[in-house]
Subunit: 230 residues, 2 copies
Amino acid sequence: MSLRRSDVPSIRALPLFQQMSEQALADLMAQSMLQRFPARADLIREGELPDFLYIVVEGAVDLYATRDGEETTIDIVYPPSSFILAAVMRDEPWLKSARTLTPSQILMIPSQVVRDTFSRDSAFARGIVDELAKRYRAVTRVLKNDRMRSSTERLANWILGMAQRAGSNAFELPLEKRKLASFLGMTPESYSRSIAVLEKHGVRSQGAMITIDDPAGLAEFAKPSAIEAD
Amino acid sequence: MSLRRSDVPSIRALPLFQQMSEQALADLMAQSMLQRFPARADLIREGELPDFLYIVVEGAVDLYATRDGEETTIDIVYPPSSFILAAVMRDEPWLKSARTLTPSQILMIPSQVVRDTFSRDSAFARGIVDELAKRYRAVTRVLKNDRMRSSTERLANWILGMAQRAGSNAFELPLEKRKLASFLGMTPESYSRSIAVLEKHGVRSQGAMITIDDPAGLAEFAKPSAIEAD
DNA sequence: TCTGTCGCTTGATACTAGTCAAGCGCTCGA
DNA sequence: TCGAGCGCTTGACTAGTATCAAGCGACAGA
């Protein structure tokens, strides 16, 4: 398989593997593949059975659902997160499709190996639940957000969150606006109008650059909830 | 603690515990409580830290989120499911509140005990991920539903699902209509209007009784997706 | 350099679902 | 048995978003 010894250090750093013994990790890696994909590469399609567990080592992956031609982005996964873990553990069809957004490096572990290792290695098991629980909480937040906030509020909160992660009041959108719109559960048109509204609340948007001129004002509009933050 | 020996058989039957050894289960139960709650009893409140993992042995529990006075039901949990497992595993604040809908019997396992047992007992660990993965998939379905279907379609699909589970084209609503409405992400008023629309598609609603006169017609309207079913 | 494409924005309009208000009918307690 | 309260329904109106359509501007390929 295409996993080279030199790749192991970056893998070992992933939270999922941190507690595992050298030997156990080596065994796992011997059965796995680390692969590079270009941007916009289709990885999995909704409805199929999981052959592998995927872990984003580098890049970004778009998880989306389809329904008569319409697409909605359910989550966007950045390193060092896995995706479709739930389907793998239960050996049930994927509920969503995945494609890379940017060129990405992805670790693929055969599903059966994941399940076997889970039973044998409690450090790995701990990593798996932790990861799964994290994902669970992420979808729950998205759902709460969708149900209880207007689309403009969702955008405002997303901007606040991004700025916080970037550690700066100015940052570049890490994805196309239309993708972001879909992730926030709105159309590209609504996104444009929402940004226009936010310009009255301390946000400036020029191309892919977002600048928060008035963090307090924006926060007042967004009414972020401590519990929603990561 | 209030767990009696006579309670153990019904506990043992729960999928979460099925693979555990007698001894391990006995140890776990010695530290747990099985409690009865009346209808509408508050169990946990959003934002607090989890002291216990809760498992619904009998009855039904409403998981809801609040935001300035508004409430939205995120999930309704029936036996033999757990709730707030993700928060317990990660020892992070609950993202939702819970209250009983009907008189319920609930098993409470101290969080720390859950985490400890998880590391020691791989059969229990397997049960935990399985349960968590199931819950994850449930929220994901709700989110997809919310994003990609109209409220009337959601109701239609819910009715089809209920009928299937009931094994009959006629069944009683297991909860108040307003609760169901909230679960489906709509207001009680919209629920009424949606039901009225569905009466043109083969559904009859009298009080708490729902009857599907034309399953094929309803299915055509609801466009259920195989992958969405449980 | 020109031009077609594509992503974004803006405008006009339509529609879904929410809000507010009133009325109906059942249940339960006095 | 009556009346109050509550859950549900219905009507009128509104708000928030989606949809459809057109135009703008940057970038890529000829």
